[in-house]
């Protein structure tokens, strides 16, 4: 009888999925899988209604009124006829600009918005030349320059698909997924220890390091399946609502999620080996490394897993626009994430080999 690693892995895999597929867990897990898709469905349905009702363009009447007040203050008031003609020009050109993105379901970046507004004002300027006299036209030019600067767009235009991306990324990918992985992986050895069942495993003819590696791989495999189903349901809800570009995004997202699950599980296993209060340590890691150091715009932010995952996701255009991520350094990010996973698992295995992890000590701590 030769216990090879693959056979050990098969044994741990059997124990893992049999435990997870218990009907009581399924009773909670299956409805849980539908929470985010239902939230997305509800949010997008409402978003479409809100989007169609609200105007996404600046109001031409307000802009024109400001110009008229300015001319009045300079003793160059507009007579009624010029005011009416100028009003028509403003409304037509603003409407022409707004029509470009009214029915668009892709996100319009700040740069695009500003470029379009510049074109709009250029068209207004050209047409207004035939309406205004010279001094009034000079004032119009200076007014347009000031207005362009003060009304410059700084973020993407609000679009009805935005809630989907916010739920998918801000809520699911960068919060729920890491929490789930770290919480579950941290308990791989700790839960067995506290339940006093670790003895059955460590007395098998397998080294402690291999045992931990087998548990990690089996658990990561299970999480990959579960989270792939979750992602599929989320995308299905979004596709049902008509969000475009999902066919391109889904394979990229699943690939990045695959790496993310490996890395987060590895982190969880390592933190679980370090201390029984691994959840608190994970939250501390999240605040300090991911939300703190990860946002510093220097090389030190390479310590953050999320920063690398954002780089990988930035290959999707809407995400690039919305979050202003850059796909530069993709090979480096892939290597960094994989290296992090290997490093964390290696450290965890080393800790598990050196230290005893005794039930009595665990319960007394």
């Amino acid at each position: 009888m030769r216990p090879g690693f693959l056979r050990s892995l098969a044994g741990i895999w059997l124990l893992t999925w049999r435990t997870e597929m218990h009907w009581k867990r399924m009773l909670i897990r299956i409805p849980g899988l539908f929470v985010l898709p239902v939230l997305i469905f509800m949010a997008l349905s409402e978003a479409k209604v809100v989007f169609s009702r609200t105007s996404q363009r600046p109001e031409p009447a307000i802009v024109l009124n400001e110009f008229a007040v300015r001319l009045q203050a300079m003793n160059m008031p507009l007579d009624n006829e010029r005011l009416a003609r100028l009003s028509a020009i403003f409304h037509e050109e603003f409407e022409r600009s707004a029509a470009r993105w009214r029915n668009s379901s892709r996100l319009i970046s700040a740069e695009e918005q500003n470029a379009e507004m510049k074109d709009c004002y250029d068209r207004i300027r050209r047409r207004a030349r035939t309406v205004l006299d010279e001094p009034q036209f000079v004032q119009l030019q200076s007014f347009i320059n000031e207005t362009s600067r003060s009304r410059m767009a700084r973020q993407p235009l609000w679009n009805w698909t935005l809630p989907f991306y916010q739920v998918l990324l801000n809520l699911y990918f960068f919060l729920v997924l890491p929490l789930m992985c770290v919480r579950a992986a941290g308990g791989l050895i700790r839960d067995e220890l506290q339940a006093d069942t670790l003895g059955f495993l460590v007395t098998r003819p397998i080294t402690r390091a291999r045992l931990l590696l087998a548990k990690y791989l089996a658990h990561a495999g299970w999480m990959q399946i579960l989270l792939a189903i979750q992602t599929g349901l989320i995308f299905a809800a979004a596709a049902w609502c008509g969000v475009p570009g999902l066919a391109k995004l889904l394979p990229l997202f699943l690939a990045v999620q695959f790496l993310a699950v490996l890395a987060w599980n590895a982190l969880g296993v390592f933190l679980g080996q370090l201390t029984r209060r691994y959840i608190a340590l994970a939250l501390l890691y999240g605040f300090v490394i991911e939300m703190g150091i990860g946002r510093i715009p220097t090389n030190i932010n390479n310590l953050s897993l999320m920063r690398h995952l954002k780089t990988l996701l930035a290959h999707d255009a809407p995400l690039q626009v919305m979050f202003e991520w850059s796909p530069q350094g993709t090979p480096f990010s892939v290597c960094a994430v994989l290296l992090a996973a290997v490093l964390f698992v290696g450290l965890a295995a080393a800790l598990f080999t050196w230290f005893e992890y005794h039930h009595r000590a665990e319960m007394q701590a």
Binding site: M1, R7, G11, L201, P205, I206, E356
Partner: protein, 307 residues
């Protein structure tokens, strides 16, 4: 014969608490009992033997190797822990199959072997479809025993294996262990049920306060204990007459007459008494119906050694 388990100046402490205190012993093949009160260090010793703990100082070897993180050695050891904890959401066959694969068995072998050991440990087939969380104490004990036998170990280490079993169940398990011992498997059993160990094991190891108080054959231990006073219970026609005769012969430390008419005596020198007792009893002229030893039990050895 080479010892299976050898400890030399073995110590283990938990902070300032001594679990094992500089113990040295040899355990040979066959059935050996590990006896001691709560907190004596039995579980600590068992956990070191099975590679779950490391010694703080000294050495312990099993089959000549140290057990910690030693898969080659662990292949030869089967372990049945004391605690009731089992993965409550798994069925016994699923759990055993997973452990069998982890031990290196092929899928086909694992499936067959799991059923065989469950039958061997006496778990009725009607319970196989339940989850471990639904099992009674006794059923859990049988499943734990089954997982320890799965990979045909050379050394079986059992921590309180009879816990939760009814008298018939204990008898079944005892028979299984005897059969295994007869087939060449060495067995180390820790138990509080001294009567069971007494009948199972000739060799015992007595622990208290982390120290070995006695080890070896039960009879040899008894013989080594100084001031061992043998207690006998005799049923006869004239207990007062017999008591007076034995007292005059100078062989008694004391005697007592119980309400059921039996004479209970304590003899000074058991070996001398047994060498001469036939003559003493004949000379008394009293008809003796039966005679029983009260102190030939493991319980009395244990009490004598630990006080």
């Amino acid at each position: 014969m080479n010892p299976i388990i050898q400890a030399r100046e073995l110590s283990r402490w938990y902070g300032i608490v001594m679990g094992l205190n500089n113990v040295s012993f040899d355990i040979g093949p066959g059935l050996t009992g590990l006896v001691g009160p709560n907190g004596a260090g039995k579980s600590t010793l068992i956990e070191i033997i099975t590679g779950q703990l490391q010694p703080s100082s000294g050495t312990l070897t099993v089959f000549g190797e140290e057990p910690w993180n030693n898969p080659r050695l662990l292949r030869r050891i089967g372990y049945c822990p004391e605690g009731e904890a089992l993965p409550k959401d798994l069925r016994p066959l699923d759990w055993l199959r997973g452990l069998a694969l982890l031990s290196g068995m092929s899928r086909a072998d694992a499936a067959a072997r799991c059923e065989a050991v469950l039958d061997q440990s006496g778990l009725a087939r009607e319970h196989w479809s339940k989850t471990l969380g639904q099992f009674s104490k006794g059923m859990k004990q049988r499943v734990k025993l089954a997982q320890s036998l799965m990979h045909h170990p050379d050394l079986l280490v059992l921590d309180e294996p009879m816990n939760g079993l009814d008298p018939m169940g204990r008898q079944e398990i005892a028979q299984i262990l005897k059969n295994l011992a007869a087939s060449g498997v060495s067995i180390l059993i820790s138990s509080h049920i001294l009567a069971e160990l007494e009948s199972l094991c000739r060799n015992i190891l007595i622990l208290n306060w982390g120290r070995i108080l006695a080890s070896g054959d039960q009879r040899d231990i008894r013989g080594d204990i100084r001031n061992w006073s043998e207690e006998l219970s005799i049923s006869c026609d004239a207990p007062e007459k017999l008591a007076r005769h034995l007292f005059d012969a100078g062989v008694l430390l004391g005697f007592d007459l119980s309400s059921d008419g039996r004479l209970h005596i304590r003899v000074k020198d058991p070996q001398a008494f047994y060498a001469d007792w036939t003559r003493l009893l004949l000379a008394s002229g009293v008809q003796v119906h039966d005679i029983r030893s009260q102190t030939r039990s493991l319980k009395s050895i244990f009490e004598k050694v630990t006080t």
